[in-house]
């Protein structure tokens, strides 16, 4: 057991975790974040993706103890007016929905690093996430639309 501190979706908490406990399980149990989910347990599907300091992490492979002091964002903690969420909804980028929060977080990471990704860059970035319902076209369109909207917003802000 170790005591660590995590800041999840803006909420800071101290908690005890076992040495081999996965970040995935800690997020679900201690913070109730239903948006991180196990799909494969081996880092191959992306259903468990969270952002740690803006970088995507497969929480199914990550031991929680190593994240002492980290700032973590999950899809259910995004602000109400999040443009990535809005564009996923508007572009119908969901079927069963199970994989989608993982894609949302990947989209956040991508747009954070590369505000105007090309089609190829979007594909490269999402390659490690699986949507078994086959919602890829809609997800792709949603990310492009979110990029456009974010650019317009930034322009307004700097104008």
């Amino acid at each position: 057991m170790r005591e660590i501190e995590l800041k999840v979706n803006g909420l800071r908490r101290k908690l005890g975790v076992a040495d081999d406990e996965l970040l995935l399980d800690v997020l679900r149990r201690e913070f109730g974040t239903t948006s991180v989910r196990e799909g494969c347990g081996v880092g191959a599907c992306g259903a468990c993706t969270a952002l740690v300091g803006g970088k995507s992490v497969s929480t199914c492979l990550s031991r929680a103890a190593r994240f002492d002091g980290a700032e973590i964002t999950t899809a259910d903690g995004l602000p109400d007016d999040d443009e990535v969420v809005d564009e996923f909804v508007a572009n119908r980028a969901m079927q069963c929905g199970y994989c989608i929060p993982g894609f949302v977080m990947m989209a956040h990471e991508l747009l954070g690093e590369n505000p105007q990704p090309t089609d190829e860059e979007v594909v490269e970035h999402l390659e490690g996430n699986i949507c078994r319902c086959g919602t890829y076209s809609e997800i792709h369109a949603a990310i492009k639309a979110a990029a456009t909207r974010r650019a317009a917003r930034n322009e307004r802000a700097t104008a």
């Binding site: 239903t34 991180v36 799909g39 081996v42 599907c45 069963c96 890829y136």
Partner: protein, 772 residues
């Protein structure tokens, strides 16, 4: 593309309503089964067989029992002592125990369960169980299995679910648990040009991203269960039989599913948690790991030896198919697949002389069950490759050849049932037009060769089945819909709401679908086989119409006019005679004299069939209706690497009427993308009965990188006379012709006919090298 009924003033059917809970899905706030609040549960893990076929001679559970956190260890023998033969469940044969006793029949079969405080403790303790075996000779492939011993089961024991299996009771000394034969005319009596091949589709896995989960506990004298299942009504019956309880003492709840595609049907984890909860009087839950999910069910591997003959006029005159479905150690729904898919083995063509022999065969592998397409993609792989090859050998355009031979409205399918609302021609024309069939293209660029291919598919909807619906109209004008159809991504919660809203003139968001709970929601056969839009949709339509009639009665009373004088509109109820209007809300308030009251209406919808003749397999009505779909593809094959790249894939499905076109397009595309996996790389690999690629690191699935450069989903609407607003299902139509369309394009590009799936680069390269 006509419409069956005129639109009412408020349009709901045919509109692109947003998916219910779309935002909750995107934010990850939707609660799937494992996220639902239930009482605290102990965790279950199972110890699995390491042998494909063996007698269990001893089980030592002492080390597991002594392990940290362990509460109980239960073996198959313990459960058999409690339940006897009732331990055996299954939709077709009572052949599958939730824990093996006496004998194991595949590597990975559960033998004993550990109940512990915590998943980790349970899984670690399960490893400590020691089993001694007396090995028996295993049988790994269908061709050996049909020849004789060794036998996977000593005796075949049909369950009571399928009436047509009763005659098998007591049958011994065979691995063939079901055989369907179609005999029409005599294929050996005709001559012409014949092509014949042996085809193979390997077993594949559904891999819904949500893992299977089940929790169960006793509530006094009742058993309660929350699980990832698309068949709650079936599970309730199955558990009631297992525990020998009346139906009202078993409660099955479920939640929206994170995908299923057939994986979460019939008996999966549910009998195990129910048996443990009931015998141990504990609340227990089990979550399968991905590796374990691969062992729960698969798609049938399938061998087809097929031939097709055409006469000098290019008419198909004969077709033969010897189909062998590998059902693994347990039959599950394999016998039904064997018959219902065997009967479309000749394809969507007019053929006078037909022989189909379709067999369901036990082997020592994990059990195969339903998978999107229900066995039809496997036989379509054969008939669409044969039709294509026959056309090419006749020197004819594969599209023209198909058009000439295709079944049209009113034609009798080889199985003896007439076609209605199955627009093969429209589907074929739409997809070929979309990819520019007939327009010239550059055949070769360096090592890349380019080709085009097409295929069509036919499938019968599951018949007979039963659906019920209850509509509850609230005094404020909002409605709740009680059905046991499960939304697993296909969007049924949205389209069922649209059907009810259309009848009751309600708006988007006014109808809420209640999650399946067998204590509350009425019987529905299953959510599968693309039956729900038609069957449950009709039950919902009828229940809503009953509700409309009730409202009309109340309004007639209120206005003092004849009921025939009243019309329901989006503004409420209107009298044509007096022009008086009353809103639903006011009407109900006036009737009950209180706010918050409810008015309830219900309906049942059932379909019937005429069972096929056991001699010749023919029936004048073998199904309620047919599905038609087509795929056309343009692709390149790299002759240096064997890699296939899809430039344009067009898919079409005849859905009768699209209740929600946006969701229909998603189903058409989703099935096509899954089909790309089956065509190019997706397969379960076994070595001596052991899965060697049962993790997502090793099992390849289509990613965004495997998307075609262009994917065109096309909705065909040939309204069904008795469908709700003309609608039928859609979820399977485009997976059916997908693999042969791709292989036919590879044939076009390279001249090579490949008959084994998937078309991996190695397989393509080998075929190119062996090319004469």
């Amino acid at each position: 593309m006509t419409t069956v009924e005129s639109r009412s003033s408020v349009a709901a059917v045919g509109e692109r309503w947003a998916r219910v809970d779309g935002r909750a899905k995107v934010r990850g706030e939707l609660r799937y089964a494992a996220d639902q609040p239930v009482r605290p549960c102990l965790d279950v893990a199972v110890h699995r067989s390491t042998r494909p076929h063996a007698k269990i001679t001893a089980i030592d559970t002492s080390r597991a029992l002594a392990a940290e956190g362990v509460v109980a260890v239960v073996t198959g023998a313990d459960l058999y002592a409690e339940f006897g033969d009732r331990l055996m469940t299954g939709p077709a044969f009572s052949d599958q125990p939730c824990l093996a006793y006496g004998k194991v029949r595949y590597v990975g079969e559960p033998i004993a369960a550990v109940i512990a405080h915590g998943v980790k403790q349970a899984r670690e303790a399960a490893e400590l169980i020691e089993v001694s075996y007396d090995e028996l000779e295993p049988v790994h492939d269908v061709d050996k299995a049909v020849q004789g011993a060794p036998f996977v089961h000593d005796e075949l024991r049909p369950s009571i679910v399928f009436g047509d299996l009763k005659h098998l009771r007591g049958k011994r000394d065979t691995n063939v648990n079901y055989e369907y034969n179609l005999r029409k005319g005599d294929p050996s009596s005709v001559s012409g040009t014949t092509v014949s091949y042996d085809f193979w589709c390997p077993p594949t896995h559904h891999v819904p991203i949500e893992l299977p989960y089940a929790a169960a506990w006793c509530e006094g004298e009742r058993l309660e269960l929350m699980a990832t299942t698309q068949t709650p009504s079936y599970v309730r019956q199955s558990l009631a039989d297992l525990l020998d309880l009346p139906l009202n003492r078993v409660r099955v709840r479920t939640a929206p599913l994170g995908g299923s595609f057939g994986a979460k049907m019939y008996d999966r984890l549910e009998p195990l948690v129910a048996a443990l909860a009931w015998t141990q009087k504990m609340a227990v839950k089990i979550t399968a790991t991905r590796e374990e999910a691969f062992l729960l069910t698969t798609r049938h591997g399938c061998a087809v030896a097929g031939s097709m003959t055409a006469d000098e006029n290019g008419m198909i005159v004969a077709s033969t198919s010897d189909v062998r479905y590998d059902t693994g150690a347990y039959a599950d729904v394999g016998p039904r697949i064997t018959a219902k898919s065997g009967l479309v083995a000749p394809g969507p063509y007019k053929i006078e002389n037909v022989r189909v022999k379709s067999r369901c065969v036990y082997t020592n592998k994990p059990s195969a069950g339903p998978f999107r397409g229900f066995g039809v993609p496997q036989v379509t792989w054969a008939h669409e490759s044969l039709a294509d090859e026959l056309a090419r050998q006749l020197g004819e355009d594969p599209v023209e050849f198909r058009r000439r031979n295709m079944l049209r409205e009113g034609d009798i399918a080889p199985v003896g049932t007439p076609m209605h609302s199955a627009d093969f021609l429209g589907s074929l024309d739409a997809v070929t037009e979309a990819i520019g069939w007939g327009t010239p293209f550059v055949k070769q660029e360096g090592t890349l060769v380019r080709g085009r291919g097409v295929a069509v598919g036919v499938k019968a909807v599951l018949t007979p089945t039963i659906s019920n619906a209850v509509v509850q109209l609230n005094q404020d004008g909002s409605a709740s819909l009680l059905i046991s159809t499960i939304d697993m991504g296909q969007g049924s919660d949205t389209i069922m709401a649209q059907i009810a809203a259309e009848v009751l003139c309600l708006g988007e968001g006014d109808v809420r679908v209640i999650q399946a709970d067998t204590d509350v929601t009425p019987y529905d056969t299953i959510t599968a086989g693309s039956r729900s839009t038609y069957h449950t949709g009709n039950a919902v339509r009828l229940a809503a119409e009953n509700m409309r009639d009730k409202l009309v009665e109340l309004a007639a009373e209120r206005f003092g006019v004849e009921a025939t004088d009243i019309k329901l509109t989006s503004d409420g109820l209107v009298s044509a005679q007096t022009q008086e209007t009353v809103s639903v809300s006011e009407l109900l308030h006036g009737h009950f004299g209180a706010r918050g009251t409810t008015l309830t209406a219900e309906a049942n919808f059932s379909t019937s069939w005429q069972p096929y003749d056991h001699e010749n397999g023919l029936s004048p009505q073998v199904t309620e209706h047919w599905f038609a779909g087509a795929a056309a593809v343009q692709l390149t094959v790299d002759t240096a690497t064997g890699r296939i790249h899809i430039e344009h894939l067009a898919v079409a499905g005849d859905v009768g009427r699209a209740i929600n076109p946006a969701m229909v397009e998603q189903q058409l595309s989703g099935a096509a993308i899954m089909g790309i996996g089956h065509a190019l790389f997706d397969q379960m690999v076994f070595d001596e009965g052991q899965i060697v690629n049962g993790t997502l690191l090793d099992y390849q699935l289509p990613s965004i990188k495997d998307m075609p450069d262009k994917l065109t989903p096309i909705i065909i609407e040939s309204p069904h006379r008795t469908g709700p607003f003309g609608a039928k299902g859609v979820g399977e139509t485009t997976i059916i012709p997908l693999a042969p369309a791709i292989a036919n394009a590879v044939r076009d590009a390279t001249g090579v006919r490949i008959t084994t799936l998937p078309l991996t680069p190695e397989r393509v390269l080998t075929a190119l090298e062996e090319q004469p």
